[in-house]
């Protein structure tokens, strides 16, 4: 489904990714771990198409479609969703307005009929409730004045509504208290299915107690240094990252 081959990318002039290879199949949950600055977030941003990163070599495809050739919105329409590490505030655009615009774009691109206002509201309210976002949520500006936890829950809400094929969760656990972590994890687990896949980018193994990965990879200096199953995450939790070095 997702196939990354020999991916090299720069942030500005600085090389960050130095040859990443990764294959993700439908129904799988992958955890991408690594020390600060190892390139985890860069990988997620490059897949989503964030400006400011230059791909210098390699390829990324989703279901055979070359993602790197597409603008960010078409990647999203292909089914790529990134939950932002630092969700953006957009004052003046209400959450409902934003969600409707996003959903309409996806439906139009995939040739699906547009939801009626009533259908949409029903869907959005149900999802907001599930994530513990209050009734005022819809009217408030996108992430405007949200707490850290609310912002992360809003990301998961968007994921639930947009039903992506591939969800990249960039440090979704950072800055969450234990209750929010539980809510977010429940949302992700409810989303996970045979038809989609999840890549969790995280520094700590804490999240992996709630969302159990099939594969765990550690990124060091822009390459995957080692991969394993969920027990590998526990090993890292115990031993830290120091013993892992970049592959030659």
């Amino acid at each position: 489904m997702l196939r990354i081959e020999n991916l090299h990318a720069n942030a500005g002039d600085e090389p960050i990714l130095r040859g990443v290879n990764l294959v993700v199949r439908p129904g799988e949950v992958h955890a991408l771990m690594g020390p600060n600055g190892s390139g985890k977030s860069t990988l997620a941003n490059v897949i989503a198409g964030r400006p400011g990163y230059d791909v210098t070599a390699g390829s990324v495809s989703l279901d055979g479609v070359d993602l790197l050739a597409l603008p960010p919105e078409e990647r999203a329409q292909q089914g790529v969703f990134m939950a932002f590490q630092y969700p953006i505030e957009i004052p003046g655009v209400s959450n409902m307005e934003f969600l409707k615009a996003a959903l309409d774009s996806r439906n139009a691109a995939q040739g699906r009929p547009e939801l009626s206002a009533v259908q949409f509201l029903k869907l959005a309210r149900a999802a907001a409730e599930r994530l513990g976002l209050g009734p005022e949520f819809g009217k408030r500006g996108v992430n405007e004045g949200f707490s850290g936890g609310e912002k992360k829950r809003n990301e998961i809400l968007q994921m639930l509504l947009l039903e992506p094929r591939l969800a990249l969760l960039d440090e979704t656990d950072s800055g969450l208290d234990i209750d929010s972590l539980g809510t977010v994890a429940a949302g992700v687990n409810a989303f996970a299915g045979e038809d989609n896949a999840i890549v969790l980018v995280t520094h700590y193994a804490r999240l992996l107690e709630h969302i159990v990965p099939d594969h765990v990879h550690v990124l060091v200096a822009g390459r995957i240094a080692r991969s394993g199953d969920k027990s590998f995450a526990l090993e890292i939790e115990a031993k830290g990252y120091g013993w892992l070095t970049a592959p030659a």
Binding site: A48, G49, R50, P51, P71, P72, E73, R75, A76, Q77, F81, M82, F84, P87, I88, E89, I90, P91, G92, V93, E97, F98, A101, A102, S105, R106, A109, G141, V142, Q158, L162
Partner: protein, 376 residues
Amino acid sequence: MNASTAQAFRDSALRHATRYAPWLDRRPSRDALADATLPEPRCEAWRHTNPNRWYGAERPARRQRLDARGPPNIRVIPFEEADAEDRHRIGQHLNATLDRARYPLANVNDLLLDQGVLIRVPRAAAPAELLLGDLGGGYERALVLVEPGAECVLTERPAAPRQRVVELVVGAGATLRHIRLQPSSDAVEHHLVSAQVGAGATYRVAQHGCGSPLRRCDLHIAASGAGAEIAVRTAYRLGERQHLDTHIAVDHAAPNVVSRQVARGAVGAAARAVFDGRIHIAPKAQGADATLTAKHLLLAPDAAAYAKPELEIYANDVQCAHGATVGDLDANALFYCRSRGMDEAAARQLLVMAFLAEALGDAAPEAAQALLGMQR
């Protein structure tokens, strides 16, 4: 030395005074105009808008239009139909709120007047709703007297006038909500709104819309009564090659006045927005609370914005602040929208709408949203 375009225009106005409403005493305007220096190119108040383009613009063909309406208890009187009592009233109030020195162009208005209208809003149980539409497209004048304690909503839809001067007297304790809707036009226009706001009165003006090849809007609001409340909101979206120059002056002339000014402008290709927002606090106007924010988005490489927020303060018990920004849409917000599947045009539209909405307020009429291309 050859006379400048401004001098030639002034001389012509003095020579070719209209015969409309001949009973109007035009001497004060004539004398003021004879002494006045009309704006010359590059003078401070017209630094980024060439007044010669206005002097030289073709005077539109005279249309017989008078689109001014209100409920039955409101008196809407064209000058040509004014009886002796109304003539007296007009004589008493016309030009009384005008700062002739600051707005010398207003002196030509009654000399060249094509259509004038007097509106009186008495105190009533329910707020009155008034419409002031097309007044013929030439030199237009409205004198609106909102009597003490009265409440009224005045919606203006000017139809590309050459010059429209609206004088407003808001009596003590009265409330006037004034909405000016300005669609795109092909005309060269000058607008002047001159309001005098009495003690404890509220004046809220919202001017929304687009531009024209040249549209200059002067809004002068004098809070002359203690405890007056002033709010000015303006949102505009300028299309290709449009030029909109908005000058707002709020004078705190009495104590304990609260004023707010909010401006948001989105400027398109080869368009130019000029915004000058002034807060003036007179020596005795203690307890002043005044703010202004003016933000502009430049949406094309050759768009330009010229912003000048001003504070002029002669009292010390004041809380005044202003802020101004000019830039493009936030790149992070744009990417956030695109990462959720919106194409770039849709994302930009969404963000521009949100930006303009900051100046619309909660009670913005749908017509204003439509003008700004904000139908959702």
